[in-house]
């Protein structure tokens, strides 16, 4: 049995490679999805595992002795630190931000070790090198290599520093939900900034055996150390909570695609395998003649494919190991921890893929077992008819090559159906992927569509409102400035307050992207996001009443907008509504819409200069910037799908050629030129491909918009941001697919130019 | 036996023993050569019929040997024999002899020989075909078919000869 498998392998390298490639691609896609899905739904878990984190972090007053903690308390597995830490500020692009500096040594600890995502860790050589926490670095737009100025709280130190690395940690939540930002420095640098010992704290991390017993351990520790020594305590539950609510867009997308890729791969495998059975009828028949039972033949085929699948899985694992750090490390917003897939998931993926692919080979293997032991009788195609349609077409002087080719495509009905499915599904998925791409493209180029018309916000800071107003309006690069306020309001039925936004005035409203209804044009009109409307249980046209510091205001909801802030729950109205109603409005900020082509960083710098650094100016981050990886992943996915589709195509083409081969002489005798004979064969594959691709693209286009809407609704953005792939893109994709089909159809026919010497040889 | 001897003599005169040697060299083991006695008897008969004439050659140390040569009548007979088509169950042997000897006797070209024989087969087949159409009972039809199969085999062999000897 093994000998046959080896010989067969040598004979059909291409097919073996195809299956291995397909399986590897699917496994890679699935592993990526699993990692990203986990990162999306529970980012803390990934980081915690990757950093071997501590569940409890304590900020203690300096000099507290923690050396005996692990001995005295049984639940503690390890202690991280103590690390000196101090409050400080960092000045970047003229803007001052509060930070926590924590000193760590160049040697990374065993527990609670920050996970480097870019650059490197602190080194003794680079004294002024610092490592930023990832979410903070992103918020600050400070990549590796940027220069910062560190300053202490007294504003007396002013040290130049350079970012040498960016790392993730599980000891605190993401910035800016959790402030201040975290920067790791060498102990020497910390002392330089803040030489006064009394101003530093000790930070200690505790890794405990039983996470459920966290609060008990905390109590014990505080008791042990004395409450006066303990500054703040944070637990893993708090951190996890704070870290969640990231966009599930990524992970869900890719999980979905991974599964569909698996489906398409199954089809491809079936196609390849059953095509192979048909092609190698003679060999399989020979095996039977030699005395192998049907069961043995079937199990030989299955064993062979099991080997291919295993090889493919290994290749996929290897590729994942190599590629995920590359893919994920370069894009912000995705934790590098996503590169490590928890073993549970990995096991399910591997086992599932193996099982599914083997199942896919079951039917063809059974078919192989049933091959009759008549040696070298090639299976003739089943009886077909020159249908009425074809007859009409011929009589109507349509090119006979096209008619014959098109007709020949459907003679083997099952094979045709398999090929069409095998091509339509990848096309469908590619179209959906293109739709997502178009949406992402749109969001990146037109942030206004997801409510991010303003790219810069500026608060007056230490300027008076009048001064701030002047500065803002005087800037030539600012196209429009809207004065906005952020007010907490109480809504009946909610235990907490919700943040409401008074953006611009009713006469000059902030240009939200309204997907349904219209903007507020009068006082007491408001627009809200889908997520908020759902949680308030209100629809467009209805009224909702809120209390602003005791003052009730009734709004009529006139429109639905898309806005990613505050977890997607936003309600906005004109400021004048509050003034009218007598509700107090706090100090506001300016939302600035820049002229096209102006870089936000430039604008910030200029405004800072214009206000002598007294205004607080910040860049509004576009969540879509984080989604660059999705585009990379989509591109990779499209490539995998294309490979899968190509496999189906080539198999169909080979089968068609084999059926066709014998008819070449007759066709030429009947008066077809060699070119026409080749065209007939090409038409056969192309017709199938055309049907499949058009159906796949049409359905995909229909579905992609609703799919994006569904996902964005999950995210809280509500429906309306979905963009289908443009007709031009689709036309190009379809054209490429048809071209590939034509080429695939032509490939086996190179020797068909001359009349083959089939007439002299036997059947 | 008569005609092969005549054909051999067409090349040059020879005595009985030489003729036997030539026959053996030509046909080898596939064809049993008659013994020397038979050859002499045949030569005498040919002489009696006027197709060959003999002459005694005096040899000093050995007994006299009799050398035979073709007469004009004998030469005519050879040509007539070679040009005529062959018939009968021994057809193959006779034809082959003609073919093998024709180059030696120089009396006709081999291609022509083969072509003539082929045309003969064609004619025979034509007759047999018509016979087959007229035959209405099974036994005669089978006979005809048997003959046809033999003829086909003969043609195939003819082509083999053509390949090998031309």
């Amino acid at each position: 049995m093994a000998r046959w498998i080896r010989a067969d392998l040598r004979a059909s390298k291409a097919r073996a490679l195809a299956i291995v490639g397909v399986v590897a691609g699917v496994v890679l896609a699935l592993l990526l999805s699993a990692g990203l899905l986990q990162d999306a739904t529970n980012p803390w878990q990934g980081i915690f595992t990757a950093t071997k984190g501590a569940q409890i972090w304590l900020h203690l007053s300096p000099g507290t002795d923690v050396s005996k903690l692990s001995e005295q308390l049984t639940g503690i597995q390890a202690v991280a630190g103590p690390y000196s830490s101090t409050a400080a500020s960092v000045i970047l692009r003229g803007q001052r931000t509060r930070v926590e500096l924590r000193s760590m040594t160049p040697v990374l600890p065993a527990v609670g070790r920050p996970l480097i995502t870019s650059g490197g860790w602190l080194t003794a050589r680079s004294v002024h090198g610092v490592v930023l926490e990832a979410s903070f670095a992103q918020a600050l737009h400070a990549p590796v290599g940027s220069s910062l100025v560190l300053d202490n709280v007294d504003e007396t130190a002013r040290l130049d520093a350079r970012v040498v690395g960016i790392a993730e940690t599980s000891d605190q939540g993401f910035y800016p939900d959790q402030t201040p930002g975290l920067i790791w420095v060498l102990p020497t640098l910390l002392r330089e900034i803040e030489p006064i010992a009394g101003r530093t704290e000790e930070v200690v991390g505790l890794r405990i055996a039983d996470p459920a017993a966290t609060s008990i351990v905390v109590q014990q520790v505080v008791t042990q150390l004395g409450s006066s020594a303990v500054g703040t305590v944070s637990t893993w539950q708090q951190v996890q909570q704070s870290m969640s609510r990231r966009d599930p867009l990524l992970g869900l997308l890719l999980a979905l695609f991974g599964l569909m890729a698996l489906g398409a791969a199954v089809l491809a495998v079936i196609n390849v395998t059953s095509g192979r059975v048909l092609l190698q009828n003679a060999d399989l028949g020979m095996l039977k003649t030699l005395g192998f039972t049907p069961l043995q033949v079937a199990s030989m085929m299955t064993a062979e494919h099991a080997i291919f699948t295993a090889a493919g899985i290994l290749a996929g694992l290897g590729a994942a190991r190599l590629l995920t750090p590359l893919l994920l490390g370069s894009v912000p917003g995705v934790s590098a921890a996503a590169a490590t897939v928890p073993s549970g998931w990995a096991g399910i993926i591997i086992g599932g893929t193996f099982g599914v692919v083997l199942l896919a080979t079951a039917a063809p293997a059974w078919q192989a077992g049933r091959v009759k032991p008549i040696a070298a009788v090639r299976s003739a195609p089943p009886r077909g008819h020159l249908s009425r349609l074809a007859g009409f077409a011929m009589a109507a002087r349509m090119p006979p090559a096209v008619v014959l080719g098109a007709r020949a495509a459907f003679v083997r009905k099952l094979s045709a159906a398999l090929t069409i499915c095998g091509l339509a599904i990848p096309m469908l998925m590619i179209t959906i992927a293109l739709g997502f791409w178009a949406t992402l493209d749109d969001v990146q180029r037109n942030p206004a569509d997801i409510g991010l018309a303003a790219s810069v916000t500026a608060s007056p800071g230490s300027l008076t409102p009048a001064q701030a107003d002047r500065v803002v309006r005087a800037d030539s690069q600012v196209r429009a400035a809207y004065y906005c306020v952020r007010v907490e309001a109480l809504v009946p039925g909610e235990t907490t307050t919700i943040t409401t936004l008074g953006m611009g005035s009713s006469q000059d409203p902030y240009p939200f992207h309204v997907v349904q209804g219209h903007l507020y044009h009068a006082p007491e009109q408001a627009v809200a996001t889908d997520a908020l409307l759902t949680s308030l249980g209100v629809r467009i046209g209805q009224f909702v009443r809120m209390w602003f510091g005791g003052v009730p205001v009734t709004f009529q909801i006139v429109g639905r907008i898309i806005d990613p802030q505050y977890g997607g729950e936003v309600i906005a109205y004109g400021r004048d509504t509050l003034a009218d109603e007598g509700a107090a409005a706090p100090i506001g900020f300016y939302s600035l819409i820049l002229r096209p082509g102006v870089s936000p960083a430039d604008a910030v710098a200029r405004l800072m200069r214009a206000s002598d650094g007294r205004m607080d100016v910040a860049i509004v981050s576009n969540p879509a910037d984080q989604l660059g990886i999705v585009q990379a992943a989509l591109a990779a996915l499209i490539a995998v799908l294309a490979v899968i589709a190509l496999t189906s195509l080539l198999t169909a083409s080979l089968l068609g050629y084999r059926d066709h081969e014998r008819d070449v002489s007759v066709l030429r005798a009947m008066g077809l030129t060699p070119l026409q004979v080749r065209s007939a064969l090409m038409t056969r594959t192309t017709v199938l491909a055309l049907m499949a691709v058009v159906v796949g693209a049409a359905v995909g286009r229909l579905v992609s918009t609703s799919l994006v809407s569904a996902v964005s609704r999950l995210y809280g953005l509500g429906s309306g941001i979905g963009r289908p792939p443009s007709y031009a893109t689709l036309a190009a994709a379809i054209g490429l697919a048809i071209g590939a089909a034509a080429v695939a159809g032509m490939l086996p026919t190179r020797p068909l130019g001359r009349l083959p010497r089939v007439t002299v040889l036997g059947p | 036996m008569r005609m092969p001897l005549l054909a051999l003599l067409a090349k040059e005169p020879a005595h009985g023993y030489e003729l036997k040697t030539q026959l053996e060299q030509l046909f080898g083991e596939a064809y049993p050569t008659p013994n020397i006695g038979q050859i002499y008897v045949t030569l005498q008969r040919l002489e009696r019929d006027g197709l060959v004439r003999s002459q005694d050659v005096i040899q000093a140390t050995r007994p006299n040997k009799r050398v035979y040569e073709l007469t004009d009548a004998g030469r005519e007979a050879v040509v007539g024999w070679i040009d005529a088509t062959s018939e009968g169950p021994r057809i193959r042997d006779e034809f082959f002899m003609k073919l093998a000897l024709s180059q030696l006797s120089g009396t006709s070209d081999r291609l022509g020989l083969i072509n003539r024989q082929r045309r003969h087969y064609l004619m025979q087949m034509r007759s047999l075909s018509e016979l087959a159409i007229r035959a209405d009972r099974r036994i005669p039809r089978l006979l005809v078919e048997g003959a046809m199969l033999h003829l086909q085999a003969d043609l195939d062999w003819l082509q083999r000869c053509q390949e090998e000897l031309l």
Partner: protein, 254 residues
């Protein structure tokens, strides 16, 4: 641009080939398959080409049907010079005026018998009604009407060849070319095919076929013998059979 063949018979020749040769060159080996063949065929004539295998018979036939391009030589079909025709023009010629039958694989495998015959007619430009009518007529003549709906693979060799001949003759071509039409058949099948050829010949069909079967060759008007790429004999068969007595071969050998 066609040139008119000048021949001694005032244009009655259907086919004239002069100095036809075909040389294959490949891998440093030069194989002259056909060397300087001259061949003529009159309207309504039945000519058989015989010869040992490797003598170039098939190549010669393929050249006359436009399926191989001659290295040198001229071919005139019905007064028109055709050897320099492009593939496309040859193809059109084959649709309407030349019927070609091979030894194997004579029918499109994924179409029924009836469709095969009709397809040939459709390709020549016949209407569907006419194609169907001709098909019914021909298959009926052949006694294959019951197999009209079957797949070619289900027919015996002889039946397949008969259908192939029907396909080749459905358009009443000027010239019927056949390459070993009985080569693959048992004697019963061969007889059936021969009957068909005789009948077509009697109807006026011009036939040029290659065969190693003596019986088929003997049915022709002329038998051309090919050897080593050259024509070595061109033997006309008498129109009426010679009144020969029962051939000696039939006499029982005792």
């Amino acid at each position: 641009m066609t040139e008119v063949a000048a021949n001694g018979n005032g244009g009655r020749l259907l086919l004239r080939a002069s100095s036809l040769s075909k040389t294959y060159i490949g891998d440093g080996v030069v194989v002259p398959a056909v060397r300087g063949a001259d061949l003529q065929l009159e309207h309504g004539e039945f000519v058989a080409i015989t010869g040992p295998s490797g003598s170039g018979k098939s190549t010669l036939l393929h050249m006359l049907g436009g399926l191989e391009r001659p290295t040198t030589g001229e071919i005139w079909l019905n007064g028109e010079r055709v050897d320099k025709f492009s593939q496309a023009r040859w193809a059109i010629l084959r649709r309407r005026h030349i019927g070609f039958v091979f030894q194997f694989f004579n029918l499109v495998s994924n179409m029924t018998v009836a469709d095969n015959v009709e397809l040939a007619a459709l390709m020549a430009g016949a209407s569907r009604k006419h194609a169907k009518a001709r098909r019914i007529e021909l298959l009926g003549d052949l006694g294959l009407a019951t197999k009209a709906d079957a797949a070619p693979a289900r027919l015996s060799g002889g039946e397949q060849q008969r259908v192939a001949l029907a396909r080749a003759m459905v358009n009443r071509p000027l010239l019927l070319l056949a390459d070993e039409p009985t080569g693959n058949l048992d004697s019963a099948g061969a007889m059936a095919v021969l009957r068909l050829l005789d009948r077509a010949h009697a109807d006026g069909q011009s036939i040029l076929l290659v065969t190693h079967d003596l019986r088929v060759a003997s049915a022709a008007d002329r038998v051309v013998s090919l050897f080593d790429g050259m024509i070595v004999d061109d033997a006309p068969m008498p129109v009426k059979p010679r009144p020969t007595p029962l051939p000696d071969v039939l006499k029982l050998r005792g």
